[in-house]
Structure formats: structure tokens, C-alpha cells
């Protein structure tokens, strides 16, 4: 990356001489990784629909990386065209593959997908994945049709000097990186969505049924919450939900969700603290 970095003075001097066509920058960003456990398109579609229904605006036009590591032969058998079409129909934009065999990679490149070096450890991958519960194949055997566990290959080795990889970055340390919490004083009404990007969210009024509050960090709710609450929307596992009166339709922390139906009756109508423990929502006293 250093080679690409120039001092701003140098840039200015050069700009004066000739116009610049572009600047090349290495940006660290976190991307959703879709770890495929099956090639059954209808199953993928069904599960996608459920996931997206939880957080539609989060997945709208989101770029995704396809992790082929869990597939037989490192994805050599994947026919990408229908898979890409399916993802596009779900408003996801597949941009690259990772963790693929050579054959799988060739197929992907032929279909216009990029190749990302597989570098992340399991923990880091999980952090960037927005749907961690389904990501580990051994936990959901029902979804696997044909799995031969190919060893995860570090394909970095045989790559022609890759550009600095936007490796799945650690999730945003919300509210610690300097961005102050977003504060909402008005009730969040049915149909309204409040999203605190890269920060905590504080709601002083109620969140009504059909309203949604989402934060990349934690969510603090001082009014009754009857709508949906998502903390750690980008996968930040330390995020939590703090609320004075829990009557939510749905709560989610770092990819783990709980519907109203799953919330124990004794927790309803009371104050609560909700966190994600081992990929599951846990509700405790505030």
C-alpha cells in the first residue's frame, strides 16, 4: 500500500501539471460474507428471504462475498449464473468469492466475480458475517445437501501479488471511535426506521409497533419498545440493547434474533438488557 501513498504536496504539484484520472486508495471496509453450505438454490432463496425480512434496509443493495469453503470441491461445481441472478433478485450484489478451489475460482472469474484472498480466522470471519447462526455448517446439518469438507486453502499463495485485501475488518467499535451516540427524542412510529450508523443509538421516547431502530453499536431505549430493535447491525458482537420496558416485536444483537414469540413472558413489560452470547440472544435484568 505504501507505494500508492503520496504526500499531498506531491499530489498537488502533479495535479497542477497534468489532470489526474483517478486516485487509487486501499479502503478497509467490512463486507457481508455469505458462506454457502448448499447449492440448493430454492433453499438458499428461502433462507435469504427470512434473513432479509429481518433487516431489509441493511441488505438492500449490499455487496456480498461468497465463501465457498464449505462446499464440495471448494465450489468447483457451482454454476454461478443462476446463483448470481438469485442474489441480485434479493437485492444483494455478489462482488467476489473467497475460499474457493482453483476450478471454483475460474468459474467465478468467468462470471465477473472478483477473488478475495482467504485470510480471516474463523473468529474474524464470524465478526464480519451478518448471519453468523447459519454460517457454521456443522450447526445446521439440515441445510447441507452435499458436503465434503474441503480444507480451507489459503489461496493467497498462488495469487499474483494481490492488491491490499479488504479483509473483513473488525466490526466498528461503535461509540468508541469518536462518533457520538445518535439521540432520538420523538417517538419512532410505525413505518419509521432510525439507523445509527457506526454509533450507539439513544431513544428517549417509545418505539411503536411497526417502527424499527437499528444501530451498529448499542441501543438504549427509555420509552416502551413495541417495535423492532437491532443492535450491532454490522456484526459488532459486544453491542447490547438496554430498555426500560420490553414489549418488542423483534430484538436482534450482532446477527442473533429473537421474535416476540421467543421472548419469555416473564421478560415482557419489564426492563431488560439484551446481548449476544455464542450467537444467541440473551435477555437479562437491566
Amino acid at each position: 500500500m505504501e507505494a500508492l501513498v503520496e504526500s499531498s504536496a506531491a499530489v498537488a504539484a502533479r495535479t497542477a501539471a497534468n489532470p489526474v484520472a483517478f486516485e487509487l486508495k486501499g479502503v478497509m471496509t467490512s463486507l457481508a460474507v455469505l458462506r454457502l453450505c448448499t447449492l440448493d438454490l430454492s433453499l438458499i432463496e428461502r433462507h435469504l428471504r427470512i434473513k432479509i425480512a429481518h433487516l431489509p434496509q441493511f441488505f438492500q443493495d449490499a455487496p456480498v462475498v461468497l465463501d465457498l469453503g464449505a462446499l464440495a470441491l471448494g465450489g468447483a461445481e457451482v454454476t454461478f449464473a443462476p446463483l448470481i441472478r438469485l442474489l441480485r433478485q434479493s437485492h444483494l450484489i455478489p462482488v467476489a468469492i473467497t475460499n474457493a478451489s482453483e476450478a471454483g475460482r475460474a468459474n467465478a472469474v468467468a462470471e465477473g466475480l472478483g477473488v478475495m484472498p482467504y485470510r480471516a480466522t474463523r473468529g474474524a470471519t464470524r465478526a464480519a458475517v451478518t448471519m453468523p447462526r447459519e454460517s457454521a455448517p456443522e450447526r445446521s446439518p439440515g441445510e447441507i445437501t452435499r458436503v465434503v469438507r474441503a480444507p480451507a486453502r489459503p489461496i493467497t499463495d498462488d495469487m499474483p501479488t494481490p492488491p491490499p485485501a479488504p479483509v473483513p475488518a473488525p466490526p466498528p467499535r461503535a461509540a468508541q471511535g469518536g462518533r457520538p451516540a445518535m439521540v432520538v427524542r420523538q417517538p419512532v412510529r410505525s413505518g419509521q426506521v432510525v439507523y445509527a450508523q457506526q454509533s450507539d443509538l439513544v431513544v428517549l421516547a417509545a418505539v411503536n409497533p411497526g417502527g424499527e431502530v437499528i444501530a451498529d453499536g448499542s441501543v438504549h431505549l427509555y420509552g416502551t419498545v413495541r417495535g423492532r430493535v437491532i443492535a450491532g447491525a454490522q456484526g459488532y458482537a459486544e453491542a447490547q440493547i438496554f430498555c426500560q420496558r420490553l414489549e418488542a416485536e423483534l430484538v436482534g444483537v450482532a446477527g442473533a434474533f429473537m421474535r416476540a414469540e421467543d421472548i419469555p413472558a416473564k421478560r415482557r413489560g419489564k426492563s431488560a438488557r439484551i446481548s449476544s452470547v455464542d450467537g444467541e440472544c440473551r435477555i437479562e435484568d437491566l
Binding site: 417517538p187 412510529r189 410505525s190 413505518g191 421516547a205 417509545a206 411503536n208 417502527g211 416502551t224
Partner: protein, 268 residues
Amino acid sequence: MSKVVVVASGKGGVGKTTTSANIAAGLAQKGHKTVAIDFDVGLRNLDLVLGCERRVVYDFVNVIKGEAKLNVALIRDKRIENLYVLPASQTRDKDALEPEGVGRVLEELKTLGFEYIICDSPAGIEKGAQMAMYFADEAIVVANPEVSSVRDADRVLGLLSAKTSRAELGKTIKSHLLLTRYSPTMVKKGEMLSVSDVLELLGIPLLGVIPESKAVLQSSNKGTPAIMDDTTDVAQAYLDVVYRFLGEEREQRFIDEEKKGIFRRLFG
């Protein structure tokens, strides 16, 4: 000083048109020059409830399109002085309502000296409803005491705070709640949401409670707003609403079950 007031609910059938007609009639009875505009293009109703359907020649869309002059399209009520109706078009579709045209007509009504411009919104949250609320200074949100109606009212309140001209200028729209078709008996049995349930959820001031009553249906069919026959509880309730809307203090009625004396309990 003119005030544009939208009567909205999101959900259909909760009593928007009845409320628009009665509040407009009540304000006019109190001496304020008032016009009720039907924004429900294609489903013209307000003229029926106000009993002027046989006098409709031109409509709101004609005026917007410049096909008729405003003072020609306005229908003057024969019974109540100061009350005017601008009916909806029954043949056009909602796309005929475009913001510039609607805004121009509202401005013209203001210059004609109308103190209150009551915009009867269609159900839903689509274009017609959005146009009805866009220029509003105040809103009367009508809800029935049941969950779907309350949720829709909540949605409408959200739109009022986002998709209106005042909201775009960073100002708020004063919103009042009107709870219609209320039955204290059913509330007591737990079959209906109570006033306090609804207020807790919506968090806006209560303009009034209109009791469930046959008088509403009868008056709609007759084309005479219920408020004109002040012997009924509905008329009393709407009168209270009009007074409160004009800033007078009136104690809330029709919230609790009528206390029956021993004779009425025995005989009926």
C-alpha cells in the same frame, strides 16, 4: 388567518368523512367561514354526507386543471351559513392531484377569506392521502379503538412529521387524536382498547371521543351532519370537539359507561 386542517387515519372506514363533515359544519355554525375539501378522488363521498351531491357540477380536479373557476366549483351549504364544499372528482384518478395545483387552490381559498380549510383525506398512505396532508397546519387523526386502526394512525403521524410542507421547513404539525366508534361497555369487557391504551401508544393530545351510535349512519344516509341534531350523543360529542378545537376547555365525555340508576337498570 386561515388554517388548513387534514383529517386522516390511514385505515379506511374509521370515520374520516363523517368527522370532516361534522367538524366543518360545527365550525361554520360557530360563525367561521369553512370549506371541506374531498381529497378522495374517484371515491367521492363527502358531498353525500353533507347532502349536496345533487348540486355538484365542477370538482376539485377541474379547479386544479384550470377547467373551472374555484368560486364556481365551490358548493354553498343551504342550511348552514359559512359552510362550503369542494367535492372530489368521481371520474379522474389520484394522479390529477399534483402539489402545485393543490397548493394553488388552497392559497386561493385563503384569499377568499376561508378561516378553516378541512381536507378530508382518503384512506391509505398513497398519493391522495399525501396530498391531503402535505399543506396542513394541523391534523386531526381519527382512530377506532382497535389495534390495526391505532397502528395505522401511528403510521400517519409518522408521515405527518416527515412528508409535509411544514416538516420540510423543520416545523411541526399540531396533531389531535379523535377516537371514534367508542363503546365504554366493550372497553369494560376488555373487547376494545381503552382511551388510555390508545393515548399511551400514540402520545398525542385527545381532541375527543365519539361514541358508537346509530345516529352516525342515519345522518350520513340523510345527508345531514349529525352535529345538526343536537339531541344525540354523537352531536354532543362533535360539538365538544369543535369547542376544544377552537381552544375552549371542555371536560371529556362518553369515555365511561353511563351510570344507570336503579330504575333504568330494572326497566331499561
